[in-house]
């Protein structure tokens, strides 16, 4: 198990009520499952109160980087001590 930091930004920071948490996990999926359990319902409830419907899990509506690399670009998702996950919502307006 690696001790990692998860940092939230923008609406995710506002609605989870924290800028960062630390947790222990072996891989990213495990870390996200823990976040889902800890913040999922809270995030969904608050976003829905704002009129934003989060149908799936946190990760379905988030941009997630591990140590500055997009999750989708990672070959392996194993975690090491001191890793940082960054989670923020996608914004595309102009």
């Amino acid at each position: 198990m690696a001790l990692i930091t998860v940092r939230f930004y923008s609406l995710w920071r506002l609605h989870t009520g924290t800028g960062s948490v630390t947790l222990q996990a072996d891989n990213v999926d495990e870390a996200l499952a823990q976040l889902e359990e800890k913040f999922g319902s809270q995030l969904r409830e608050k976003l829905e109160a704002d009129g934003i419907h989060l149908d799936g899990k946190i990760q379905d509506h988030s941009l997630i980087l591990l140590n500055g690399i997009a999750l989708h670009n990672l070959k392996t998702t194993g975690l090491e001590e001191g890793d940082v996950l960054y989670i923020f919502p996608p914004v595309a307006g102009g």
Partner: protein, 292 residues
Amino acid sequence: MESSRVGQDIVRCIVESAEAYLAPDGKKHPVISLKTVASIADSQGISAKEVEITALKHGVIPRRYLRNIGTIGLDGQIKLLQSTVAVVGAGGLGGTIVELLARQGVGYLIIIDNDCFTEDNLNRQIMSTERNLGEYKTAVAAKRAREVNSAITVTTFLERLTRENGQKLLSGAQVVVDGLDNLSSRLAVEQACRQLAIPYVHASIAGFSGQLMTIFPEDVGLSSVYGSSSNTIFEQGIETKTGNPSTTPALLAVLQVQEVVKIITGVGKPVRNQILLVDARECTIDRIELRR
């Protein structure tokens, strides 16, 4: 190129027309007024931009740029006047970007957009007014830029930038600025900028949130945030729910213009290989270092 056509008589004319401006710090600077620049340009058959560049090269500050010089210097202002910047999208971000680039004195602007102003643009798109609803954004933005700064050259393209026409539309630009509202167009701009080997200043917004990245051809780009597979890409973000209030586009546009000025003048450090996350509600700006 421009200055070689400018003869010694023009230089003399500029220097002799210069007035001494007493700055608040007690120093005197030779300045030249807008009216005198126009008069010299008319009488000598050269452009106002050439007069301004020649003046700056001889230590005479066009008064309209007086407040710029303390941050970017005479050389910085000359570089801006000689530069071409393309703005893709002339809406919330793009309108403010065009306005500020014209005021900053970027010599050549390319504005690309295929849309018209609608009533729901009025809350945030600085170029839109009740009177110009229905007009093309490029035409309104070009008119405004020329009203703000008659010395600059503005070219417009009434087209949507795509992977097919991107290189053609952006050709000649030294920097490209993002005023778009969807990810696929942004990816097309990024591709064209990499092919043309020029920097791209990306920003996007939603609600109180915004993000910014300056992407040089050798830098990590949008794929470092969104992933490289088309399956993983969000075409739209939370703006479809949060909307875009009056302030957020202006906030990010200001930072984008500052990136352009930094790139062209060499003053300051652009936000490269990082994503800047701006949260207007909490009044925070965070940076995340990006990797491949």
